[in-house]
């Protein structure tokens, strides 16, 4: 049941028309997913987009209202017992026993999953060392820091060496250093050939995924590799550096050819979709308004792409509504 025996070519996750409602609220609506084995799949989306609901259904802890989902070819509803040994699920909330120690939590969940004593010992040692938790083995989980708690949960979900990891916002509320370290561990798992599905609200984390999907109001708006997603944004991205950037935004938005304007720190980011030379058009418009600024083209990042896509889908909804 190690990663190396995972049959290549069989999808890690296949979902079709997956749907789940809570009363009147449609949390996940007709979601299709096809995640190949070995991928690091980023599930992006704002709070309340349905990321957790989707992951919980794939982790077999929540039943879908309709639709099907398979993990390594096994149904998450009808064949739970075939699915659960191969997955590691890390919920958004801290879900270890607060009054058990780091080692006791690791031991408990590994033993429950039938990991033998010798394996438990070697894996626990290796995991705790690689995560920098080896000094805290006897500390009760409730007394760990936020980042250490997340690492403990990840270590616990790795003790039975699952082929698929379902991680629900594992780095939310974790300091930047711990976040980087967490992704370093995930990169190692990716190299081992494991499949990772990770939900995250952080766009910089999306860059590290082999594939991403944007989830908004329960629907997948776009999916593909980060480069493919970026290519879906029409035009080129420009960064305008100037004093009082907030005030200049209105001027820039009125220039023909500009499709979107965003503030990022103290620069304005402009999406340009026209044949004309953007630099001349923008500096010209700024000069006409009595301002001056420096324009340079930048490679689109996920932050901008996400903001653009969210805006575009919002605009599409408004059109539909009117």
């Amino acid at each position: 049941m190690t990663a190396t025996t995972t049959p290549q070519g069989v999808g890690a996750i296949r979902a079709h028309a997956l749907r789940r409602t809570f009363g009147e609220v449609v949390a996940v609506a007709e979601v299709d997913l096809d995640i190949p084995a070995g991928a690091v799949f980023g599930l992006l989306g704002p709070d309340g987009a349905g990321k957790s609901t989707l992951i919980r259904m794939l982790a077999t802890v929540l039943r879908p209202d309709s639709g099907t989902a398979e993990v390594f070819g096994h149904s998450v509803t009808a064949e739970r017992d075939q699915v659960t040994p191969r997955i590691g699920y890390m919920s958004q909330r801290f879900s270890m026993y607060p009054d058990l120690s780091v080692m006791e939590n690791l031991e408990f969940f590994a033993t429950v999953r039938g990991v033998g004593r010798a394996d438990r010992r070697t894996r626990a040692k290796a995991l705790l060392e690689s995560m920098g938790l080896d000094e805290f083995t006897t500390r009760q989980a409730q007394f760990l820091s936020g980042g250490m708690k997340q690492k403990l949960m990840l270590a616990t979900t790795l003790m039975h060496e699952p082929d698929l990891l379902l991680l629900d916002e594992p780095t939310t509320g974790v300091d930047p250093v711990s976040r980087r370290e967490f992704w370093r561990i995930l990169a190692g798992l990716h190299r081992e050939g494991r499949t990772v599905l990770v939900a995250t609200p952080y766009m910089d984390e999306a860059e590290r995924c082999t594939q991403v999907a944007f989830l908004d109001r329960g629907r997948i708006q776009r999916s593909g590799s980060p480069d493919e997603i970026k290519a879906q944004v029409p035009g080129q991205l420009l960064e305008v550096s100037l004093p009082e950037p907030r005030a200049a935004m209105a001027v820039l938005a009125d220039v023909p050819g500009v499709t979107s304007v965003h503030l990022l720190g103290d620069v304005v980011r402009v999406l340009w979709d026209a044949d004309a030379d953007p630099e001349a058009a923008l500096t010209g418009a700024l000069a006409a308004a009595g301002r001056s600024g420096r324009v340079r083209e930048v490679a689109p990042d996920m932050e901008t792409v996400f903001a653009y896509l969210a805006e575009a889908s919002g605009a599409a909804d408004e059109e539909q509504a009117s």
Partner: protein, 373 residues
């Protein structure tokens, strides 16, 4: 079903219990405290009933009768008014709880071989004192008659003193004897309800319940692992109370061990079921605590644990049948005090079994469904 996984769950539960020193202390102190409160306070109160004696006979017989009362330990003769009229204010003020009136000519009647009536007046404002007090009095007089007959070699059928009190239950009934078996059942109910009601809520609050779903643990294994440690703990508490009752308060155990065991086992299932149901309907531990209080108060008041059911208003009495503790008390008191067997206790046993099947069954089905959701 895997015994290994169940053992693991039990180990986990005990480890968590050990880490909660306050809970452990409470669980061990509570039975002892209740044993002292219910056992000692009640016992002392009923042992030295303030008693008045109106001796209109002034003979050796009347003095012997007085000595029998004061020597019993249940009655302390504090007043000796000259006439029966003086008794009334003493009883009204509560100066005495019991009065003994020995009419003139009692010894003469007995000597002539007639029945000699004497009066025993008991303060009826306290149902427990009146019932127990008159019981003791009858017992003393019966003993007095028996002694007199053996002294004189008269046949057993010969008339003697006729006390004007009628008590339908065993006059040797000591309140501690009925209180201790009741306490065993009550403590089991309180502690099981209190802990079981927290069991599932706590895991849901900490998010560990969801983590359980992605392990091979089945709902049944989870439930067994959860219930066993607390059932064991409740058993330890019961043994503590039983030992305290039998060895410290010297409550006689006349009954059949198996009757007590079966009755307690059925009642234990009922309590576990009630606790689990509370745990299921509560979203937080605080809500669960409130729900337990909501169940415990009517249970304590209406079950006959503190107040005798016979002294409740007629419209309330049928309600007491709906309370499982009522039937558990009937089984335990019957078995401890009267030594009743399975046949005599068939009705309460069957009712208890009914409660156990319905409540425990419903809680298991509901918990499984909730966990599987």
């Amino acid at each position: 079903m895997s015994a290994r996984r169940i053992r693991l769950l039990i180990w986990k539960e005990f480890t968590q219990l050990r880490r909660d020193p306050l809970l452990i202390r409470l669980l061990l102190v509570m039975p002892v405290l209740q044993l002292i409160l219910f056992g000692y306070v009640v016992a002392v109160d009923i042992r030295n009933l303030a008693t008045a004696v109106v001796d209109l006979d002034q003979t050796s017989t009347s003095r012997k009768l007085e000595a029998a009362f004061s020597g019993s330990g249940y009655f302390t003769i504090t007043q000796t008014p000259a006439t029966e009229d003086d008794l009334r204010p003493l009883l009204d003020r509560g100066t005495v709880k019991v009065a003994l009136v020995i009419p003139e000519g009692t010894q003469d009647r007995l000597d002539r071989g007639e029945t000699a009536p004497i009066g025993i007046i008991v303060d009826g404002s306290d149902s427990q004192i009146s019932a127990v007090g008159s019981g003791y009095a009858s017992q003393i007089i019966a003993q007095f008659n028996a002694d007199r007959m053996t002294e004189q070699g008269v046949s057993v059928t010969a008339p003697g003193i006729d006390a004007q009190v009628r008590v339908m239950f065993n006059p040797t009934l000591d309140p501690v004897n009925t209180m201790i078996p009741g306490l065993i059942a009550a403590i089991m109910m309180i502690s099981l309800m209190a802990i079981m009601s927290q069991a599932v809520v706590k895991e849901r609050e900490s998010g560990t319940l969801e983590q359980m779903f992605v392990t091979p643990i089945h709902a049944t294994e989870y439930l067994i692992g959860k219930l066993t440690p607390y059932a064991a703990l409740a058993t330890a508490q019961m043994l503590l109370v039983a030992a305290g009752g039998l060895f410290w308060f010297r409550v006689p155990f006349n009954g059949n061990f198996w009757v007590v065991l079966v009755g307690l086992a059925l009642f234990m299932l009922t309590c576990i079921g009630l606790g689990l149901l509370v745990s299921l309907v509560s979203r937080t531990r605080h809500q669960a605590q409130q729900a337990v209080m909501f169940i415990m108060i009517p249970t304590m008041v209406l079950s006959g644990f503190i107040f005798p059911i016979q002294s409740m208003p007629a419209i309330i009495q049928p309600l007491t049948n709906l309370i499982p503790l009522t039937w558990a008390l009937e089984v335990l008191r019957g078995a401890f005090v009267k030594g009743s067997g399975f046949e005599a206790l068939a009705v309460p046993m069957i009712v208890l079994a009914g409660f156990a099947v319905v409540i425990f069954g419903a809680s298991i089905v509901a918990t499984r469904r909730r966990i599987a959701e």
